[in-house]
């Protein structure tokens, strides 16, 4: 899917092809090169085998089993009963399932762009060569190291409770809406803030992307009289767009799978009033608390297909806005 749209890239993607086209490098190999290639393939697969075994046994196998279970009524104890598409029709009629979709979409739609903006902003600040820059980079990355841990989510919950620091601060400014955690209208923003704060991984990728942009482009733009904003919009953004695309893709997929932070912030109840009922949380509850593993499997496959669809749309949209250097656009 990606290669069809991406066109020829100036990236270290396919070294063998590159070597063939290269100026005479490896030209003497000729026919025997192909056989060598096949043998190399075999060795490659051998080296891959531990990972392949993992893929088949731990990922593909259970995934296929869950595909089967999604068409059954399975309570973990009795053997699965084939019920066709009933799980799926139950799901679309289930108000809590719809609520979980709503909460998750809200989280993805608000959280992902904000997180990427934060990451890009920090990367721009940290990309210039300045004394102590390495320290700042490490410091900005630190929240991502601890951010995934349960303890931070607990701290987060405490910060956003009634009469805690956020509540007291906003009251100084005359905003009296109470703590965010206990209010169904605001609790989702606690999660959004938590994910935003963990911008370290996309930031590092943005940093690498920024360093790839040739300095001559900026110099040329400056000669043409472009100010900093103009340089950012006309040079940085287009040159960075493949990296933006990559980060957007990764973070979107990641956001759909939010689980632990919602579990901890809501204290395992996905509330108040189901306001933190993220998709995977509802899936988990149906499977392991209500013992409806068939239903949970149907939910899992629906999520997989939906994320696949969103990914496909993103790939399709990149034609419009992602600029690959050396390609026609």
């Amino acid at each position: 899917m990606s290669d069809a749209t991406a066109g020829p890239r100036k990236r270290p993607g396919s070294p063998r092809k590159g070597a063939g086209k290269g100026a005479g490098k490896g030209a003497g190999k000729g026919v025997s090169g192909r056989r060598l290639g096949r043998r190399e393939n075999l060795a490659g697969y051998l080296f891959l085998s531990p990972w392949l075994a993992g893929l088949v046994l731990l990922t593909a196998g259970p995934a296929l089993a869950s595909l089967y279970l999604s068409f059954t009524d399975y309570n973990l104890f009795d053997s699965p009963q084939w019920i066709g598409l009933d799980n799926f029709s139950d799901m679309f009629a289930d108000p809590r399932w719809r609520k979980s979709v709503e909460v998750t979409l809200q989280y993805v739609a608000i959280g992902t762009p904000l997180k990427l903006l934060a990451a890009l902003g920090a990367a721009l600040l940290l990309s210039s060569r300045r004394r102590g820059q390495a320290f700042y980079r490490a410091a900005f990355y630190a929240p991502s190291l601890v951010g995934a841990s349960v303890s931070i989510a607990i701290v987060w919950r405490a910060i956003f409770s009634d009469d805690a620091i956020v509540d007291r601060t906003q009251r100084l400014f005359g905003v009296d809406i109470g703590g965010w955690v206990g209010n169904p209208d605001t609790s989702i923003y606690v999660l959004v803030a938590l994910t935003m704060w963990q911008f370290g991984a996309p930031m590092v990728i943005f940093l690498a992307g920024l360093h790839q942009i040739p300095r001559e482009l900026y110099e040329a733009a400056e000669v043409d009289g472009a100010g900093p904003w103009r340089r950012f919009v006309s040079v940085t953004l287009p040159m960075l767009s493949p990296v933006v695309f990559f980060n957007l893709l990764l973070e979107t997929i990641h956001s759909f799978q939010v689980f632990a932070s919602a579990l901890v912030v809501s204290n395992g109840r996905w509330g108040p009033a189901d306001s933190l009922l993220v998709y995977t949380g509802y899936l988990y509850e149906q499977g392991f608390v209500n013992l409806r593993m068939g239903y949970a499997s149907a939910m899992a496959w629906t999520l997989l297909l939906s994320v696949g669809l969103v990914t496909a749309v993103l790939f399709w949209s990149q034609k419009k806005w992602v600029h690959y250097e050396g390609s026609e656009r």
Binding site: N75, F77, P184, R269, P272
Partner: protein, 408 residues
């Protein structure tokens, strides 16, 4: 991440039946806090000393995690041999053939069912099978902050009515104190059960709900009105305080729960907390009953006799009673009850049970799926009180979810 951990735990416990040196190993798991675990581990040591041929492997979690882990293990064919259980789960797991029928063990003499107080030995009987043996008994009560009640001039009495109670709550909420009179009960299934029982109904029947939509609409509308009037603690605050109850979090002057929770309440707050009788509808009936935590065996255990002997020891041995106290409720058998001299908090629990002894009625059944219904009642009740769902919508939602849960 959590799922993987669960899986690893489940498989990690798989090698537990052989044991070494001719010893039989049985696995025992329960839910509760660290305090309970400390006590239980002492009783296990005692059992192992008296039965050197049996080794007991112990494992515990908090209540909600317990059932998630248990379900995963049981589904994998590897549940603990013996485990803590309660009335609410008997039918659910019996239907899934998870529970060991202990009747044959009683007949073989591995387990005695005599000496139980108040006919408790019958608490674990379902459809002619014996699925659990009670370790203790508890009953519902009103926990209240004595200083706040005194300040407002409210005195709980035996046989007081809901009218008296709510008048008192209003007084406390409007008085000089900063606390609401009550933590809010709209979503407490066990309290609503008592209110229904006072009207000759019950929350559950053998296979469904024992009340109508109109009943629940009245109950939730009433609770919503009192919440809005400020007589109950704001549900948002209650939610945020969890898992700490609003009473010990000093957000309210009273709330209803099981009497053995007095141990927990008093350990969590410096306020003085005491137990009072449940208000009545007619001046007589509280509708209360004895519930119990039990020990059950797994239907898949390879060591039925050992499991039966273990349960027998845990419910009858006087030393075990002395160690456990009333942590799991007032001790279930005479020898244990006699051996333990309650002091402090346990004494207050004993006094309370003595005081309400004549009001105890038989327990009503909990059908399979009751635990899911309780969770839905809690969740939707909170939504109604917070105001994100109207009373009518909430009632419809609850009945539809309850139908699904009880039908499956």
């Amino acid at each position: 991440m959590g799922l993987v951990a669960l899986g690893l735990l489940a498989s990690g416990c798989g090698s537990g039946d052989g044991g070494s040196g001719g010893k039989t190993e049985i696995r025992y798991s329960w839910w509760g806090a660290q305090h309970r675990a400390d006590l239980i581990k002492k009783t296990i040591a005692l059992f192992e000393k008296k039965h050197p041929d049996i080794k007991v492997k112990a494992d515990f979690q908090e209540y909600e995690d317990f059932w998630k882990k248990f379900n995963t293990q049981a589904a994998g064919g590897n549940p603990p041999d013996v485990f803590q259980n309660s009335h609410a789960f008997l039918r659910k797991y019996d239907k899934k053939n998870v529970l060991l029928d202990l009747k044959p063990q009683v007949e073989q003499g591995n387990l005695k069912t005599d000496d139980f107080r108040n006919g408790l030995e019958k608490a674990g009987e379902v459809d002619g099978k014996l699925l659990g043996i009670p370790v203790g008994a508890n009953t519902f009560g009103l926990f209240y902050n004595t200083e706040e009640y005194k300040k407002a001039g409210v005195t709980p009495k035996d046989g007081w009515t809901w009218k008296d109670y709510y008048a008192g709550i209003e007084k406390i909420s409007k008085g000089s104190g900063k606390l609401a009179g009550d933590s809010g009960n709209a979503s407490v299934m066990y309290l609503y059960d008592l209110v229904l029982r006072q009207q000759d109904k019950a929350f559950f029947t053998e296979d469904g709900l024992g009340f109508s939509k109109a009943d629940l609409k009245k109950w939730w509308a009433d609770n919503l009105r009192r919440t809005k009037a400020g007589h109950f603690t704001s549900p948002k605050k209650v939610q945020q305080a969890r898992p700490k109850p609003a009473l010990s979090g000093k957000l309210s002057a009273g709330e209803f729960s099981w009497d053995n929770f007095l141990v927990r309440y008093t350990s969590e707050t410096d306020a003085s907390i005491d137990l009072a009788p449940i208000p009545t509808t007619d001046g007589k009936r509280t509708g209360q009953y004895l519930s119990s935590l039990m020990l059950s065996g797994s239907a898949r255990t390879k060591h039925r006799a050992e499991v039966a002997k273990f349960i027998d020891f845990m419910v009858h041995d006087p030393e075990v009673g002395k160690i456990m106290g009333y942590d799991r409720g007032v001790l279930a058998t005479e020898p244990q009850f006699e051996a333990y001299r309650p002091k402090g908090v346990d004494k207050e629990i004993a006094d309370y049970e003595e005081r309400v002894k004549d009001r105890i009625e038989p327990i009503t059944p909990h059908p399979a799926g009751a635990d899911i219904v309780e969770a839905a009642f809690l969740r939707i009740g909170d939504e109604v009180l917070i105001g994100s769902t109207s009373v009518d919508d909430g009632v419809d939602k609850f009945f539809s979810e309850a139908e699904t849960a009880l039908g499956s």
